[in-house]
Symmetry: C2
Subunit: 302 residues, 2 copies
């Protein structure tokens, strides 16, 4: 275990890949390993990239990766994909994303499937980011499909959260969920060469000026054409500027993360079969739900 951790700390890519698999499969080795690695975390810049399907998040992440590699910065990309209902595996997968960076050890790419985890973000995304941070990756890009809860959860993981929008599909300001306003540290208007980009920008400005929860934050709006590499350097500079300005309170973030960890671990203590059986009894009114929960909690104390 110590040897494995040492190899990760020295940046050994095979050891990292093995750790990523252990984390994703939740093998018994994952937690002891993460304990060893934890004191060495906290140095990476974690960038969250979210937005509606089709906004070009993957292309943007890819271009940001290129730009960072041009500065010789070591990076990792964690792509959180919705699970395929058929295979249970990630829909997009590593293969497509890998193509452009094949053979570059400075880019570590991993797709994670959401596996129906309530809340959306793949269980283990935090662990994956911590491991890559300990391994010395300087920038970690986390890309999530913005449907459901992922956008809110990503703000718990990332130092800087970029919300990617495109003209046309996100044209109507109503399309932007109330929740997204609270988590965006910056907006990226991608495909900014398409009609409607200027209108989208105006609407965003209008929305930001009246947003009740911006807390006086300045939220930059950037424009990119990721497929052509346009605006990438500026977007990256803006993300770094946000990081320098914002200095998120680590203790506050960790409070949210600890709650989440505690929640998952506690629910793990109850076998799903027990839950099913109890739910059936409750549905038939043979027992009330409060007694069930009290009995479970009492069982913990045995």
């Amino acid at each position: 275990m110590e040897d494995w951790a040492q190899r990760i700390l020295s940046g050994d890519v095979r050891a990292m890949a093995r750790a990523a698999t252990a984390i994703e499969n939740r093998t018994p080795q994952a937690v002891p390993l993460l304990k060893e690695l934890f004191p060495h975390t906290g140095r990476a810049l974690i960038l969250g990239i979210t937005g509606p399907p089709g906004a070009g998040k993957s292309t943007l992440a890819d271009q940001l990766a290129r730009s960072l590699r041009g500065e010789n910065i070591s990076i990792a990309i964690i792509a959180v994909d919705p699970s395929s209902p058929f295979s249970g595996g990630a829909i997009l997968g590593d293969r497509i994303r890998m193509q452009g960076h094949h053979g570059d050890a400075g880019v570590f790419i991993r797709s994670m499937a959401t596996r129906g985890h309530m809340g959306g973000l793949a269980r283990g995304t935090l662990e994956m980011a911590l491991m890559l941070d300990a391994a010395g990756r300087e920038v970690i890009l986390i890309e999530t499909v913005g449907v459901g809860q992922d956008e809110v959860e990503i703000a718990r993981l990332a130092d800087v959260t970029a919300v990617v929008l495109v003209p046309g599909m996100g044209d109507d300001i109503q399309a932007i969920k109330a929740g997204i306003m609270e988590i965006a540290d910056l907006f990226v208007i991608n495909k900014a060469d398409q009609p409607g980009a200027a209108r989208l920008e105006q609407e965003l400005h209008a929305m930001l000026s009246i947003a009740p929860n911006s807390h006086g934050r300045q939220i930059p709006i950037l424009k990119t054409v990721a497929s052509e590499g346009q605006g990438i350097a500026e977007a990256l500079a803006a993300m770094r500027a946000v990081k320098a300005r914002v200095r998120r309170d680590g203790a506050q973030l960790w409070q949210l993360r600890l709650r989440e960890l505690l929640r998952e671990r506690l629910l793990d203590l109850f076998p799903p079969g027990d839950l099913e059986a109890a739910a059936r009894e409750v549905a038939e009114r043979r027992v009330d739900p409060y007694t069930v929960v009290e009995q479970w909690i009492a069982r913990l104390a045995q």
Copy 2:
């Protein structure tokens, strides 16, 4: 306690009001009372009404209430409002909603404030519905503002979930979140006399025809002008038809509800101060989060 429960079971409105307050304030009497009442639940038709702000949900709920009262059906309305950041109380409040039904004991109305409960639906909404069900209310309308997570949570509570949309604001199909598609048992196009209603209906039809998660469900689209009382009888008939057709699996619903109850109860075991202190230590890398969570769980077993 038994006497209190008996009075609720006999439909005593004062006893119900006292129970509603106990549930909302989470007083120690609430859980023993709910245990007494639980065997008498499961008879009410619970209708969930959700949708974006401004869609006219309150007006629709009010008109449905009138229509049901016309059939001499006893009802309850639970309005889940976002908390006022200033008073902590519900923004809209009972007063406005009460006006039309003042003096009618067949309508029991209660507003609940969300109080920043993660996930949106007021803690205690399930409890409130169970109490009102035990009290013999035949139909319980639960109305939530559709921002954030409420729409998904309401599907856990309601027998039938209606998503209310309006032309113009919800004009662009992008405005409808992916999540809402999964929970809608039926759509209501309110303010259907306004321009854009036909287009919205077409877009909904198009969306439903390609929706990957409709599981072959037939999802009716109704049109109302709630402020004029138009289309209300049809909407109500459609909701009842859904209830008759769908027959939700109670055991499956209770599995979700039990998880939620368990989650809340378990987190209540940990004082917020401890969480804060631990988060600070973790943020400073003095301890790792896994050790913290393990220690907490071990403490439960003492």
